[in-house]
Each structure stands twice: as C-alpha cells, then as structure tokens.
Amino acid sequence: MTAVEPKAVPGEVTTFQVASPHLEAVVRDLATELRLADMFAADGDTTTLRLVWANDTAGQAGYVITETPLETGVYPQLSDIAPAAFVEECEIYEQFGIRPATGKALNRVMLPPHAGLPPPGLPTLGHRPETEPEEARAAHTVGGQAFEFPFGPVRQVGVESLYYGLVTSGEEVVDLYLFTWHKHRGLEWRLQGTTPQQALFLAERTEGLSAVALGWAVAAAAEAATGTWVPEAAQRARAVALELERLYNHAAAMAALCQSTGLTVGQSAAEIALERLLRLNAQAFGHRYLFGVVAAGGVSRAPDADAIRALLPGAYGEFKRAADALLGTNSFLDRLEATGVLSAGQAKALGLVGPVARASGLAADARWVPGGPYGNETAVATGTAGDVLARFTVMLAEAAESVRLIGEFLDAGTAAGTADLPRTSGTGLGWAESPRGEALAWVELGRDGRITRARLRPASARNWRGFDDACRSQNVFTDIPIIEASFWLTVAGMAR
C-alpha cells in the first residue's frame, strides 16, 4: 500500500513499501522524476524486490528505496517503463528464477551457456528453476547481408576478457552485443555470511580499479544498517583516497584513449602521469591501487599528508601537461569528436552514471548527496555533446576538481580510525562516486552482524548498457576501441 507518495529526502535514504499490484504505477510515477539507480531481489520469507531511486538534483540529492514483496513470484515488466531496469531483470532471473510477467526474452548476463543449464551445483541466491524455458532467451541470429564479427573473449594484450558480437555489414556497425559471463565470479553469493570487514576484502576486488569507491559503498551500507557514525577525519581520509582513485583512473583512461587512437607519444605521456599517481598512492596509503584503505566503520590507514602535498603537484602537472598537449593535437581530437554519441535521452533512459552521463548533459554525482565529507560546492563538470571528446573533457575537469578537493580535505585534517560496528540486524544503502560514476551497495545484516544479502552495483554494471548504443551511433567499427576507452569501464565490475 502506498500510504505516502514516495519522495526523496535530501541526504537520506527513504524506504517505502509498495504492494506488488501498485508497483507498476509507482514506477511509472517515479521514473519521471527520479533515476532508477538499481533493482535487485532478496530472499526472506518471500522474495522482496527492491528498487533504488536516486534524486540527482543538486542540494536535494538523496535516495528512495521501494520494497515490494513478491508473494506471487512474478512482477511487472518494469523495463518497458524504465529501460534502465532491463539488465537487472536479467540478473534477477539468473539469481532467483523470477521473470517479469510479460515473459519477454532476457539477455544472458551471468550464467555461461556452455556449462550445461543450469551449471551443475552452481549456487544461487534464490530458487532458480532447474531448466530454462526456451523462450526465456533471445536467439542471436544474424540474417540478411550482415555477419557477426566475433571478437574475444581473449582480446588485445592487457585487457580484460570480454566477448563482442559485432554485427556488421562490412563497414558499419549494425548491432553489437556483449557477453560478460566469462568473468562472473558470484560475488554477491560469496558475500553472504561474511562480516562487513571481511566483505570489504572481496568488495574491493570486485572491481579493483574502483576499490575505494566500492569499499566505501559497502562500508557505508553496513554503517547505515548498524547506525554507526564514522569520524569526520576518517571520512575525509576516505575522500582523499577516493579522489586519488579518480585521478589515476582518469590518467589511465587518457592513456587508453591515446592507445585506441594510435597516438603512442600521448599514451606514453599519460602513462608517465599514471605511474607517478600510482606511486603517490603507494606513498600516501601504502598501496598502488588503494586496497585496504577503507575499513568498516572508518579507515585503516591515514594518508601521508606530507607525501601527497609533496608529490601531487608534480604528478598532476604531468597529467595536465599531457592533457593540454592532447587538446592541442588535432589528429587526436578529430577521432574523438562526434564519436560514440549518446544523447541525454538515451543516458537518462538507461540510467547511466558518471562521466558518461555527465558528458551527455546529465548532472548526476553521488558526492552531491548531503551528509558526507563533500561540501555543497563540489564542482561537477558536464558536457552536452555526449561524444568521446565530451567524456574526455569531463574527465579532465574532474581531475582538476579532485586535486582541489584533496587539498581541502588534507587541510581539514585526516586521521585513521574506525568505529566499531554493533552486532545488530538491519539493512542499509551505501554509495560513493567512483571514477566511473556512482557505486552503490546494499546490505542486509543478520542478528549476528553478518551479511545475509549483499548487493553490489559498481558503476560499470550500469554503464556497459550504454556502450551498445554509443557504438551503434557509429558508422565505422574501428571507432569501437575509442568508445570503449572513453567509457573506461571494467568487465569485472559488470560480471561480479
């Protein structure tokens, strides 16, 4: 029953109960104002469907969760109303065996097709059916005068395994689909039964390139579930780590962009900046990729403020020089401009986050949610063109803002320290703005303080769904690596 109209309260997570008959209407209503940030199911007495909605408006940012018990085991086809729900519908089917009521075909997200269906002994979160009905999957057939260019899963050197089914007529991109199940590790299943502190170990390794953001999101979720207050100095330490993570990721994205456009000199310049930033991370926090910084209830290590103050200007100077030189290289910019265009409408419909969404003109940033260490004046860069160049310039602006923020946080003081998490049951939502965009985590703790259901939603899990659209906007498939570099996603984050 919707006694109250679900509304987002700034800086807070508001939870509403929505009975399944009303779900469709509520989603229709909320989808006009809020962004569908996540959708997942959890098992209890009955399976409960939870939808996480985000209000992105500056100053009023907050989250709404709607909870719907699915007594009948079905739910309406929400992706018809909010297309952003589609990948999650597929995930819920593969985890719980629940399909939307219309019975439309679903994509394969986690389960491999060739290990037998279902793979023998593959653990699930709910009650997945023993056999899949044939109509549950859409056939990949290519008809007419096009063919599927098989690319992967073993691709170039030093990139993650991913299969592209690139349907092409010889030159143009007709269609594109991705298989990520090669890397599915069942992390949400693994997190069951762990303490929040143990969970952080795997959460960081879900998507190592946003270890801080995911760790923060999981820790914050557990903190919210237990009502723990994290010392402000520790929060600022987390924020320093998060901004350092953003800096090195954007440097790495810049290197990847140069590599994809064949600009080796630019790639080298970006990699010099990247390596200096990684060394700075190691000096400041003891780990090049900032693993182990976030702890449940605080941070395990305080940043070495002197090291950061001494090294950051040089490392960022390297970044800035490379970026400036790139912005003066026309052969490079020509490849970026009008490549991989995503309109604001597409980004909104698919619920994209991070630089990808911001480059299309959607100002959404989890740092804006009040209550964290970030103030209201955090600048969030946006673009309008929605092409690779816009994403690149958004990243450059974000890097500059990160440097400013780091200085601010260091001046305000940071310290190691953790608050103890009480062993109580509860649920909580946590978020952090990873370099790729908003990372979300939701945990449900049992009475012993251990996790009974954890939901991880890295930004990669969101943004890959915009990748197909960006590629389809293209006439030539040689631009796909450029688009992939500009999204700067990980397969690990999708196939978690």
Partner: protein, 112 residues
C-alpha cells in the same frame, strides 16, 4: 607531432634501471608479512589464521603454514597482531616451484 617530439626530449628518461639496479619506488610497495617468532604464540597464530581473508595462513600443529602465493599483503594480520607481524619488504617473489612459496613458521609454545 614535432611538438610531441620536443616535449618528449624535454621530459627526459624516466625508465627504471631495474633489474640491473634496485628501484627506489619498491620501498613503498605493499609486501607480505614477516613474523616475529618470539611473539608468535599459538593464540596469536590462531588469530592470524582466522584474520587472513585469503587463506594464506593456516595453523598446522606446531607450525603456522604460510602460503606466500596466496598472500595479498592486505595488512590485516599486521593490524590484528602488530607485535608479531612486521613488513618484509620482499617484492621479488616469483618462483618456478610453487612449494617454495609455502613457508612453515614455527609457533611458540607448541611442539615442546
């Protein structure tokens, strides 16, 4: 392109001399722990084995079986027992024999 060329010349060489010479940046890398035998009591060993998230530490009678290969150098053991665990500083851990990565650390107060 000329610009890039000049920039590159001005930037100079950054390449490490490793492995011919040691590299200074190795000092700040996370490295697997080293154990203080004096402080490694059986209780400590059990706590360490329980703390380790990657299963690198396992108590086997009088020894703490330490699999360096599984160790992620996460530092949780050092946080749990700072008196018994310190930083090793070893990062050149590659081996052609997996068994050389498995160390048996004697535990105090056991096997007497």
């Amino acid at each position: 392109m000329t610009l890039w060329f000049i920039r590159g010349l001005r930037r100079g060489v950054v390449t490490t001399r490793y492995p011919a010479r040691p590299d200074a940046s190795a000092a700040s890398l996370p490295t697997p722990p080293t154990f203080r035998l004096q402080a490694l009591t059986s209780q400590t060993a059990d706590r360490l084995a329980e703390t380790c998230p990657s299963g690198a530490l396992r108590r086997d009678g009088s020894v703490l079986v330490y699999d360096v290969g599984r160790c992620t150098a996460c530092g949780r053991c050092a946080a749990a027992a700072p008196h018994a665990v310190i930083r090793s500083g070893e990062f050149e851990l590659a081996t052609t024999d997996r068994s050389t990565l498995i160390k048996e650390i004697p535990v105090r107060g056991e096997g007497r």
